[in-house]
C-alpha cells in the first residue's frame, strides 16, 4: 500500500480512515508462544474474549472457537483468565502444531 507524503496527510495527526487499525496485523509482534484452544474443557464463559486486548478471540455461531492469529500478540491474558479447572487455553511454543492443524 502506498503511504501518504507529509503533504497528503490531514493536519494534526487526524486519521480519516476510522478503524484502519485492522490493517495493522499485531500478530506479527508475537514471539515464542501462542495460545492453544482445548475445546472439550471450555465452558463458553467468554472471559478470554472479554480480556483479549486485541480482539483476537475467534467467535463463530455464538461460541468461542479459537484465535485469530493475525492479531494475537501471544500475551497470554486469555490463558491466565481462563477459569476452568483444567485450562481450556494453554500457552504453547510457537512452533507447536495447533489443535486446528494450522502452523504458524
Amino acid at each position: 500500500m502506498k503511504k501518504e507524503t507529509w503533504k497528503e496527510l490531514p493536519i494534526g495527526t487526524v486519521n480519516i480512515q476510522a478503524g484502519n487499525s485492522i490493517s495493522n496485523r499485531t500478530g506479527t509482534w508475537r514471539s515464542g508462544r501462542k495460545p492453544q484452544f482445548i475445546e472439550e474443557h471450555c465452558i463458553q464463559c467468554f472471559f478470554c474474549w472479554l480480556y483479549c486486548p486485541h480482539f483476537a478471540i475467534r467467535v463463530e455461531g455464538g461460541k468461542v472457537t479459537g484465535f485469530n492469529y493475525d492479531y494475537c500478540t501471544g500475551c497470554g491474558l486469555c490463558a491466565e483468565e481462563c477459569p476452568t479447572k483444567i485450562k481450556s487455553i494453554v500457552m504453547v511454543k510457537e512452533e507447536t502444531e495447533l489443535a486446528e492443524g494450522r502452523k504458524k
Binding site: W6, L9, P10, V14, I16
Partner: protein, 393 residues
C-alpha cells in the same frame, strides 16, 4: 466603548479573556499568573462570560483539559507561570502536534531550584522547541494587544498552532499601567469566529485524533506539524498590521528603537526593553550611535528580518533573561548569532545574561554594556563572549 483603564498585566489578560469569551478556560493558579485565573473565575461567577471555566488539580491536567476542549472544536485558553508551565511540558508538545490553537498567557517566572517567584524567561525558554508560537510583551498594553492577536494568529487555517504570550512576572503582571481597552464588540469582531477543521463534536464525519504512529508515519506527521508554524510569519505580520488599522497600534516581529544609523545595538526582550530605551536616549545624548532591538516574536524566530536589521551594525550585545547551561550562549543569543552567520560583513557579538529570578536591570547596566560595545567596535575583538549583568562576582 474603547477607553483607558488602570490595570496590571494580569488584569489586562483577564479583560481580554472577558472580551474574547473563549468556550473553555482551564487553568490552575500559580504565582505570578494567579490573578489572571482568579479574575476570569470571578467574571464567570458574575455571569460576564459564558464559556466553561475548569479548575483541575494541576497544570498538567489544565493543559490536558485544554487539549480535549480544543479537539472538540472549542476556542480555548489557559494561563500559568514557571513550574506550572514546566508541569505542562509533555502536554505542550501534544497541543502543538495535534495542531490545536490553544492560547496561553504566561506570566514569566524563574524555575526552581532555588525556588523563586520573580520574573525571568526560564519557563518559556524551556518550552521553546515545544512547537508553540511565542510572543513577548514589553508592558501591559502589549500584553493585552498580543493576547488578542494570539487567537487570530493561532486559529488561522494555515497556522493552527498554539500560541503563548509572555509577560514578565511581577514587573508586568503586577504593575498597574494606563491601558487602552478596546470596545468589546470591536475585539469580538477582530478575532472573528473560530472554525476548527476537525472538531470531534462533529459526529457527521468519522475520524480519529491522536492515535499511535510507528516508524512509518511519525516523521511525516512531525513534518506536517512544522508547516503550521512555518506558515505563521505571514499571518503574524498581517494580523499585526490589521490590529494597527483597527486599533491604532501596529505590530511586527520586533521593534527597532533608534536603529537607523546605529553602529552599536542592544537586543533585549520584554519589560527590560523599556529601561533599555531610556538608556539608549541617554547614551545618544552622550553622542553614542546606539540603538535597541526588541524581539516580540521568538518562535518562529524572525531570523531573516533580524539579520537584515543588525547586519549594518559593528557590535551587538544580546541580553538574555534566561541561561542555557552548557550551551553556546543563552537562547536569544544563539538564534541571533546564527541569523547573522550568512552575512559576509557582520557585527561582533556578545551575550549577557541578566535579571535571573527578578534581579533588577537598571540604566547603568545598559550603559556598562554600551561601554563594552564601544570597545568591541573599536578593537574588533570580543574578549569574553558570555557575561552576567548585575551579578555579585
Amino acid at each position: 466603548m474603547s477607553g483607558f483603564k488602570i490595570l496590571n498585566g494580569n488584569q489586562t489578560i483577564a479583560e481580554a479573556a472577558r472580551q474574547i469569551d473563549p468556550d473553555v478556560v482551564a487553568a490552575y493558579p500559580i504565582t505570578p499568573s494567579t490573578a489572571i485565573v482568579e479574575t476570569i473565575a470571578q467574571f464567570r461567577a458574575d455571569g460576564l462570560i459564558s464559556g466553561e471555566f475548569v479548575c483541575p488539580e494541576s497544570e498538567h491536567s489544565a493543559m490536558s483539559v485544554c487539549i480535549g476542549a480544543a479537539s472538540a472544536g472549542g476556542r480555548v485558553m489557559t494561563a500559568t507561570s514557571s513550574q506550572g508551565l514546566a508541569l505542562m511540558w509533555e502536554m505542550l508538545y501534544i497541543a502543538a502536534g495535534l495542531r490545536l490553537p490553544i492560547v496561553a498567557a504566561i506570566a514569566n517566572r524563574a524555575l526552581s531550584a532555588p525556588i523563586n517567584i520573580h520574573g525571568d524567561h526560564s519557563d518559556t525558554m524551556g518550552a521553546r522547541d515545544s512547537g508553540w508560537i511565542q510572543v513577548y510583551s514589553e508592558n501591559c498594553q502589549e500584553a493585552y494587544d498580543n493576547f488578542i492577536q494570539a487567537f487570530r494568529i493561532g486559529e488561522h487555517p494555515d497556522v493552527l498552532t498554539p500560541v503563548l504570550v509572555g509577560l514578565d512576572g511581577f514587573i508586568i503582571s503586577h504593575s498597574s499601567e494606563v491601558v487602552q481597552i478596546e470596545d468589546d464588540a470591536a475585539v469580538k469582531k477582530f478575532i472573528g469566529e473560530f472554525k476548527p477543521p476537525y472538531p470531534l463534536l462533529d459526529t457527521s464525519r468519522k475520524f480519529t485524533v491522536g492515535s499511535i504512529d510507528f516508524t512509518d508515519y511519525y516523521f511525516e506527521h512531525k513534518r506536517s506539524q512544522i508547516e503550521g508554524i512555518e506558515n505563521s510569519p505571514r499571518v503574524i505580520a498581517e494580523v499585526g498590521r490589521e490590529f494597527g488599522r483597527t486599533f491604532g497600534r501596529s505590530y511586527g516581529f520586533f521593534e527597532e528603537y533608534r536603529m537607523d544609523d546605529a553602529e552599536l545595538a542592544i537586543v533585549v526582550m520584554s519589560s527590560a526593553a523599556g529601561t533599555g530605551k531610556d538608556a539608549v536616549d541617554e547614551l545618544r545624548n552622550e553622542g553614542l550611535q546606539i540603538g535597541l532591538l526588541k524581539p516580540r516574536i521568538f518562535r518562529p524566530f524572525p531570523h531573516e528580518q533580524i539579520g537584515e536589521a543588525l547586519k549594518k551594525t559593528k557590535a551587538v550585545a544580546v541580553l538574555d533573561r534566561s541561561s542555557a547551561p552548557g550551551a553556546f550562549g543563552a537562547p536569544l543569543f544563539t538564534e541571533i548569532r546564527s541569523a547573522l552567520y550568512d552575512y559576509d560583513k557582520r557585527p561582533k557579538m556578545v551575550n549577557y545574561v541578566y535579571g535571573l529570578g527578578g534581579r533588577d536591570i537598571r540604566i547603568e547596566h545598559f550603559k556598562d554594556v554600551a561601554k563594552k560595545l564601544e570597545t568591541i567596535a573599536a578593537t574588533g575583538k570580543v574578549d569574553e563572549m558570555l557575561g552576567y549583568l548585575n551579578l555579585r562576582e
